[in-house]
Symmetry: D2
Subunit: 287 residues, 4 copies
């Protein structure tokens, strides 16, 4: 949301930890005393759980890297977890795809249009279908087949690719494979996923067919961080579209695609701008 | 949606039945040959199930009541179910309430503002709380306590009240009691209910607290026809509102109330105007 | 949005003024050094105009009234305008109505439901139509006819009523008279108004008829602070609803009423909670 | 919206003309008597202007082309204007672009994904910027510079290109040139345009900057048929997105791009499926 990206190397800190008196004053005081100028600051308290969250962006007087290190120490000294980023730093991310290509094209075009404060480093797919499209965008494409009983090997290869490309997070753009818990633990990087959502929810296959059979009047999509439990991770963004009896299953699927594009790309943009803090099963999004 | 309510006694027919060639031509031909003038007509085919649905509103040349009877016979002769209403007829309905009063006031004020093509005949409650409010609106109020082990007796009394007031359908305006299957079968009138909806869904009590704990970004409400299975009946209308981490449980509940008012009143308006056809577990809404 | 209203006497300050280095640190430092505990804080910079805005809510260690006075002095000393309120303080407001009653009932019912952090002190109308309704809600009703050539006298009387009731702001709930510039200047209190909005806009009378003739697909409503120029004041909230060719003028008007209720009541709630800062022709809403 | 595209050659007729008794019966009767089977039918009456509109889709018993000709004669005989299309017919359309490419990519990808019942025949631009992108999609690209004082010649060339490619309609995908009245008259084909919309409207340049300065809470986009008067043609579709004081001009523009993509592509889809009827300054959209 900031108009300030081009005005020098600012620092963004995402803080979280036990709520305590004076925390806002201490953080802003620390920055001020060292000549920093706060550009944006937003904070939140979860009063039931006694947790404090803050996103603060400032223009340091001193060298930004050195200041980041110093702030990190300071945050530890007051018992806060912190994630720090320089505004000049553009995190790299991988896009995982299968055959559905709507989210893939949407992400690639937004990236080329400069909508993300980060860069797609590579595309990984269990099919070779989107190789040409990826390469036309100038993106390295890795075909990693996932065959029955060989998922382990595939995941090892994927991990290697992510490490080689130095990606900081992964986006599942309608990647139609479940990631194993071991893989997620080995990754130690956030994974953003997208899935359809309905009121009521439908278990089992062919959810759009079920939704149509049930006559729902709204269909939705949810972007969340992937966890071992399918579609149960912390929610980043959600949206819905209206449908009527005049819409067939094909129409629902088409409207669902538009929702998936909008919701996933918004989640990626927020994540890349360090606007999302996870805690427990939920998120704070400083939009 | 019609602007035509005040221009004479039109007939509204809601037809449904097995799809067949020429059905539209036969219905409109029947009306035309008897000098009727179609004001509105809307139809729908469920192509998977082979069912045809039509809502047709026309100005008959002959006496409307006689024409209704003749049309009813004609519909049977071509194998169609039909529900017929004269535009001058305003169905009576009962409103069931407990202590939450937002939907109750909303319905009563919309009724007084002339938004419904029907009339509230009475208010039935398991508490005496809203007696004054109901009577101020000029509405008969019946207090029918529902005590443990005496639900049967209460339901018998409610049934008697509905019959005495000649209500044609019932609206549960946040009535906090489950209706028994026997009661619903004995009623033989549609019952419209409202409940909150979430993505994902939450089982068990205190759903707004659960939704807050899960960090949902949207909350919703669904109006549906009541069936024996709780909150599982055919959906009439749904809507959602956006929430963020800045909203506490109180805010979610407040936003939920606004959704419940809008969604329930829309469902009641459509039902009263004979715009809703139920089939299986879904509806066709000719809006 | 806060869940904290009942936990003691907090202070809310709305600050605005020329942006300057260290402003967040100085404000939070001042509060911290005097033993206060910040509950919520939100700030905004208009970088084009170099203005800083902050809403900060804290639990003071000392007597809240005394602390408010001290903070006011402090704010002046750093060149900031400030508006201060104790959380225990419930501002009184007047509701101005004519004959349309949908916004009036909506405000009265939300007030009774405890949705506002403030109280309706009186109802003022140029017609006597809503006297009974107002008195049923327990609200003093003042009939101030506005006759041609006697607007001056009416405005003097209205001013007197507002002063007598100690109202801090005024809500025009579809009050169908334009307030004169002199009146607004003499009032020295904010006035919140609601009007319909269309894409494109329509000048002249009967806007819903014009919108219908133009075939718009969306209708809207805007709540704003009243200024001398009609419907041109700083915008607080806006919303829209979808319409189709199937909707007649009556339907547009009905949907417009729902929008007006939702948009106006949201604006009133935010204003009463000291969440709205006006500057120039726009607002910052700390929701 | 139909699921029926692949089940043989259906006919779609869009009828409009003076309202008259029995019109629905006559149309459906004509189809039925010739062995046709109506798949979808939707009609509308503008009761103020006394105009009847119908979209009817049927599976003819006889050869579809011959049946289309016969129906056309029949429609004339009852005083109706008619536009007829075979479901197997995919209209060709041209896309006009300048340098902004978001709507262009969106249209091209939806076309490749099979979302339109029609085909992009060529891309025409006053700049050479998007040549590579167009050709990658397999689309002929024509660079027609529009230089001061030479607009006439450019428009002649464009007209020739459209005729050569046999396009049936034109889509201005953020084409930043005004089409002259002469050109539009010579075209004799519908032109769909997209523009931003605000509440209130803003005249003059840099509308997003104006909207930001005015502090609007919603921004919108409108797709309409182009007429000589800029942005004044019959509206096909509109949508809005919510913004706050936290959004800068860049954010408004980015959100505006998403709206433009969704609204324009929906308008193109409806037009290609023969769902839009223009009359006077408005449309009927049979969705």
């Amino acid at each position: 949301m900031s108009e300030t990206r081009d005005r020098g190397d600012t620092l963004v800190a995402l803080l979280s930890g036990p709520d305590q008196a004076g925390i806002v004053a201490r953080v802003s005081g620390w920055i001020f005393q060292r000549g920093g100028n706060i550009i944006h600051a937003d904070q939140h308290r979860d009063q039931e759980e006694g947790i404090f969250f803050q996103r603060v962006e400032w223009l340091p007087k001193n060298d930004a890297r050195a200041e980041a290190a110093a702030f990190s120490e300071f945050a530890s000294s007051i018992g806060m977890n912190v994630r720090l980023a320089l505004s000049s730093h553009r995190p790299k991310f991988a896009v995982m795809v299968s055959k559905f290509d709507h989210c893939f094209h949407d992400l690639a075009l937004r990236w080329k249009a400069g909508e993300f404060q980060g860069d797609i480093a590579c595309v990984v797919s269990n099919h070779d279908t989107l190789r040409d499209a990826a390469e036309h965008y100038g993106l390295p494409f890795h075909h990693v087949p996932v065959t029955s009983g060989r998922k382990d090997a595939a995941e090892k290869l994927q991990l290697q690719i992510f490490t080689d490309h130095r990606v900081e997070f992964i986006v599942m753009a309608r990647y139609m494979q479940v990631l194993s818990g071991e893989f997620l633990r080995a990754l130690r990087r956030p994974v953003i996923n997208i899935h359809h959502s309905f009121l009521p929810a439908f278990a089992g296959g062919r959810p759009y067919h079920q939704a149509h059979a049930r006559g729902v009047k709204l269909i939705g999509a949810t972007a969340h961080y992937a966890t071992e439990v399918l579609d149960d991770g912390p929610i980043i963004q959600q949206d819905v579209a209206r449908v009527t009896h005049r819409h067939g299953v094909r129409d629902l699927i088409r409207k669902g695609r538009d929702l998936e594009k909008l919701v996933l790309s918004q989640a990626v943009a927020w994540h890349a701008e360090n606007r999302v803090l996870i805690y427990g099963r939920k998120t704070v999004v400083f939009d």
